[in-house]
């Protein structure tokens, strides 16, 4: 127990080790041998990974009110307003372990994918910085490190997403994620500052910030674009940066949100809308990574509904399975997006192993017992009240799993086509990395069941078991139905879509138009306003009309004065007076 406590007490190593390795790798990585760089990158994750396992064990096996000493830096922090305080609790340890597990898989995938590319050391350093930011967020005990972690995840995600983008991409990949997450960060800051307005305001701003980060309606416009990044990035951005980070913070702030009037219900209905929307949008996709992007949104919606019915444990289980299984699928389906010429060989696809057997393990980990997701769905349906929201939750759970089954079948077919059309990744490690994530979700589910000696409360009682089993059945039904239909109508890749399919694809990619509207309407309005301010108000009204007129008036006065000095005006005046006198004289005479 002393060793476990020691691991928990050294929580600051969870972000310090990856950060130090990131700095070292970024600074010295260019001249490093490949093996040494690999060792460095893996060490930056493996050491905190082992530490976080020990920390989780400490909170599981240790005393109920176990606490770890806080690391607090208050010097020069303006009366503690900008203090850096860190500590670890059970929720933080859980989130950190999940993050490091997924990051390890992503790192293994990245090491195999980018091993021969110039600039790989910086890409790996960015992954390590991403993990360090997550460490900041999950161990934060004051607003400052929390905000640093929150923004750090967003920035690292954006830079990772666009890292290998060729110039033809125009720097678009990850840009929407970045701009949306900037909004999320500002909303969070305003939330912290709005304490004086009342707790409802704070809760509302925090909830809005979390909705943006989790990609829930109507802030889902970043989802399709960010799925075009490399697999190791999308896995981290959608899994850790979005789903896990938002769930962790929602968990921390839920007492505040739940105490505010209507916000818990709003969160529930937003989640329900997210599930419906994600399924509808995912159905129309013809690209596996984008389907997975929408499935992350669906999982996020289920998590929000779990919070709304007052079951944060179900939310944590859903987050865990989403991060592990959907993250694993992201890695498995990942097609490295660097151009083949830059890669020096063909872009990698999936091996036969995945297309035929490995992917099935991941699919089963999402839908079948005793996976974490199965337990979570049971808990969610079991704790749903006998109200409109409760029945909506039960219905949507079934719909979500049915949709998942169908979409999973299509992804599987897609993987088969890719596997036969392009070469495989040379190393076999990435496949195992992705597969192990699915395996972990099943093992963890089994572990939770056994640890609680199969107590019904773990899976939501008999009602929960019934609804979860029904959902699993619907998932299998969706998979079978999709398979049957695909035999009569072969799967088509994006390049061979008909006009109507392309239209539907576009509509779905933009979140049935709503996501695009949320992005484009303010953007176009602000740009128009910007042109009006810059060209109209600044250049024309202020510069040309006001300043120009003032300058011309002064010039006019100056010209008049010059003429006066030259004597022209006097002569003109004399001539005018004389002419007038002559005219009067002539008229009189």
């Amino acid at each position: 127990m002393e060793y476990l406590q020691l691991a928990a007490n050294g929580h600051w190593l969870l972000w310090l080790v990856p950060f130090t390795m990131a700095l070292t790798g970024s600074g010295l990585g260019a001249g490093m041998p490949r093996r040494l760089l690999t060792l460095l990158a893996l060490a930056g994750l493996l050491l905190p990974f082992c530490q976080s396992i020990l920390a989780v064990l400490f909170f599981l096996l240790g005393p109920a009110a176990a606490q770890v000493p806080q690391l607090k830096m208050t010097a020069f922090s303006l009366d503690g307003r900008f203090a850096l305080a860190f500590a670890l609790d059970a929720k933080g340890a859980w989130a950190m372990l999940l993050c490091l597990t997924v990051a390890l898989a992503a790192m293994v995938h990245a090491l195999a994918s980018v091993a021969r590319l110039a600039g790989r050391h910086r890409y790996l350093a960015l992954i390590l910085t991403f993990v360090a930011s997550a460490g900041f967020l999950f161990t934060a005990q004051s607003p400052m490190p929390l905000l640093i972690g929150w923004e750090g995840l967003a920035l690292c995600g954006a830079f990772l997403a666009g890292f290998w983008e060729p110039e033809a991409g125009g720097g678009r990949t990850g840009m929407r994620w970045l701009i949306f997450q900037r909004a999320s960060g500002v909303l969070l800051v305003v939330g912290f500052l709005s304490r004086q307005w009342g707790e409802t305001w704070t809760a509302a701003f925090v909830l809005a910030a979390l909705a943006v980060r989790a990609g829930q309606l109507p802030f889902h416009g970043w989802i399709p674009g960010s799925t075009r990044a490399p697999a190791s990035t999308t896995n981290l951005v959608h899994g850790v940066g979005s789903l896990l980070a938002a769930t962790y913070l929602m968990d921390q702030f839920w007492p505040l949100i739940a105490s505010a009037p209507y916000l818990a219900e709003i969160a529930g209905f937003v989640g329900a809308a997210g599930v419906s929307f994600g399924i509808l949008a995912g159905f129309q996709q013809h690209r596996s990574q984008t389907v997975l992007g929408w499935l992350f949104m669906v999982q996020g919606g289920l998590i929000w509904m779990a919070f709304a019915v007052g079951d944060p444990v179900a939310a944590r289980l859903l987050a865990s399975s989403g991060v592990l299984v959907l993250g694993g699928m992201m890695l498995a389906m990942g097609d490295f997006s660097v151009s083949p010429a830059a890669l020096g060989r063909s872009a990698s696809g999936l091996g036969k192993f995945f297309s035929q057997r490995g992917l099935l393990v991941l699919g089963a980990a999402m839908a079948l017992p005793p996976s974490l997701n199965f337990l979570a769905l049971g808990r969610l349906c079991g704790s749903a009240p006998e109200s409109t929201l409760g029945w909506l939750i039960r219905a949507l759970t079934g719909v979500a799993l049915f949709g998942f089954g169908w979409m999973f079948q299509r992804m599987e077919a897609d993987a088969r086509e890719i596997a036969t059309s392009v070469h495989q990744i040379e190393s076999r490690w990435p496949r195992w990395a992705a597969l192990s994530l699915g395996g972990l979700a099943v093992t963890a589910g089994l572990g939770v069941l056994l640890a609680h000696e199969l107590t019904p409360a773990v899976y939501g009682g008999s009602a929960g078991l019934f609804w979860a089993s029904l959902s699993s059945g619907l998932a299998v039904l969706g998979w079978l139905l999709g398979r049957a239909l695909s035999k009569s109508r072969p799967h088509r890749l994006t390049g061979r879509l008909t006009a109507s399919q392309r239209t539907m694809d576009r509509v779905a990619s933009t979140g049935l138009g709503l996501g695009e509207m949320v992005v484009q309407f303010p953007l176009i309005s602000l740009r128009l306003l910007g042109v009006v301010i810059w060209r109209g108000l600044g250049d024309f009204i202020i510069d040309t009309l006001v300043l120009g007129t003032a300058v011309r008036s002064i010039e006019g006065i100056g010209t008049a004065l010059r003429y006066l000095q030259n004597g022209r005006i006097q002569r003109y005046t004399l001539m005018t007076v004389l002419a007038t006198l002559l005219l009067i004289k002539w008229m009189q005479g």
Partner: protein
């Protein structure tokens, strides 16, 4: 004879050192580029070292930290009163830092202009430090006006006629607003009664007994400060200037001139009026909101990197103005910290942009790409300034924005509008940075293989460290140990 302490000597040395440097530089032949540059570096860095020494010796002090006064024109009540308080010390740090950055990190447009380049930079630094340290109203106004001269010559030497136009516009608007300020000075001194004095402390004491005379005269000061801050609607000179003037001038404009406009508000209005500004606060807040939002929105439609950065600086000045307006006469730390943060971030961004645009031969964002592959370290250093401008936590900009928003928290609309401006500005600057960072690198289209020079990277690194240190330990710069 009164004994002059070391801190008082350092205080006097602050504006005098760059002045001596400029004087010595003027004796060198124009062709002695190396010697001129070495002399310029020496004096700029020496001034920075003097400020560091002052900072260490005056750390954690409250109120007036150091003051030196000699009579000058006794019949008119004008004295040579130099002093520093917490805000002045912070602004002096900003001026010495960005001046050193400009002298060491920038180059003249043509090599034969080296002498005048260094000369005017040192003169501009001396003028700005004079503004910061002057506690006599006449002395303040004199330094305020004198600063225009080196700036006029620095700005007018751009690669195109645009620089001359921008310099002319800046001078015309500044002089017009200064005329009003002169009238204001005379009215304030007259309202203070006899014996006549221009000393700020004495004026403040006397005017506190005659508040009725203050507000109308104070309005005459406002345009001069708002022009220098480039606040709406007196902002149009700034984007034009930044896009057309040489790099050294744009660094000093963004890092020195704009924050000094805000400092003028603190120094004159804050001290003379105290908390009773007769409705001026509300008016200034809305000017600040307009500037912040206008700059943020206008930055979204810019495709010229320097214009975009100029609008980002405008937006930050708007936020600073909001903070200043709420804190005038009370706690000035929020506005002052925002001024410092925006100054240092603005100067760093323009230094970076100047180097990159010169090497690329273009200022269009779309035509600059691939820095991530070619100059990752240099681009990484610039990221701290981008993060500060976008108010990312852990940077000086975040501290400034947080303090300002915290001060406005009683006014929901102002807080939300300010937060909106921060969001727009951040999105614009991060978009531009991400754009020039990514993409392919084409060595053929860049100016030369040796850019950026090592000293430019070192300067950027020092500025980046300042931004991070102020962001993580803000009390260090603000003199609060807590």
């Amino acid at each position: 004879m009164a004994v002059v302490t070391l801190t008082e000597i350092l205080l006097l040395a602050l504006p005098i050192t760059p002045l001596v440097g400029a004087f010595l530089v003027s004796f060198f032949p124009a062709g002695a580029c190396r010697r001129i540059r070495a002399l310029g570096w020496t004096f700029a860095i020496a001034t920075l070292a003097i400020w560091v020494a002052l900072k260490f010796s005056l750390f954690s002090g409250q109120g007036m930290l150091v003051s030196v006064e000699w009579p000058w024109v006794q019949s008119l009540g004008i004295s040579l009163h130099f002093a520093l308080d917490e805000t002045g010390l912070m602004m002096a740090g900003l001026v010495t830092l960005i001046s050193a950055a400009a002298v060491v990190g920038t180059l003249p447009i043509l090599p034969e202009l080296n002498r005048s380049h260094v000369l005017f930079l040192l003169l501009a630094e001396a003028g700005m430090l004079g503004v910061v340290t002057a506690w006599d109203l006449m002395l303040f106004v004199a330094f305020w006006e004198v600063t225009l001269i080196p700036f006029f010559f620095l700005m007018g030497r751009g690669p195109s006629l645009g620089g001359v136009n921008a310099a002319t516009r800046f001078i015309v608007i500044s002089v017009a607003s200064s005329v009003l300020m002169w009238v204001g000075v005379l009215l304030v001194v007259q309202a203070a009664g006899l014996p006549r004095t221009f000393d700020l402390i004495e004026l403040s004491r006397r005017l506190s007994q005659n508040q009725a005379a203050i507000p109308s005269a104070m309005w005459l000061f406002v345009p001069a400060f708002l022009v220098r801050m480039a606040a709406f609607p007196l902002h149009t000179w700034f984007p034009v200037a930044c896009a057309n003037v040489p790099n050294a001038a744009s660094v000093l404009l963004a890092g020195g001139v704009l924050p000094l406009g805000g400092f003028g508000l603190i120094h004159i209005l804050g001290r003379l009026c105290g908390p009773q500004l007769g409705g001026m606060n509300e008016w200034l807040v809305w000017v600040g909101v307009g500037t912040a939002l206008g700059g943020g929105i206008a930055s979204m439609v810019q495709r010229d990197l320097k214009r975009l950065l100029a609008n980002v600086c405008l937006s930050q000045m708007g936020i600073a103005l909001i903070g200043l307006s709420y804190s005038l006469g009370t706690d000035l730390s929020a506005g002052a910290m925002m001024l410092f943060a925006s100054g240092i971030a603005g100067a760093t961004l323009f230094l970076f942009a100047g180097v990159v645009c010169r090497a690329r031969g273009s200022q269009r964002v779309a035509e600059i790409s691939g820095l991530w592959h070619s100059h990752p370290f240099f681009a990484g250093l610039a990221f701290t300034a981008v993060a500060s401008a976008a108010a990312i936590p852990g940077t000086a900009g975040f501290v400034g924005v947080m303090l300002v928003l915290d001060g406005t928290a009683n006014h929901q609309v102002i807080t939300l509008l300010s937060a909106g401006a921060v969001l727009l500005t951040g999105a614009s600057v991060v978009w531009a940075y991400r754009r020039i960072l990514g993409g392919s690198h084409h060595p053929a289209v860049w100016g030369g293989p040796s850019w950026p020079r090592k000293r430019q990277a070192v300067i950027l690194a020092i500025l980046a460290v300042f931004i991070l240190v102020c962001g993580l330990w803000p009390g260090l710069m603000m003199g609060v140990r807590s």
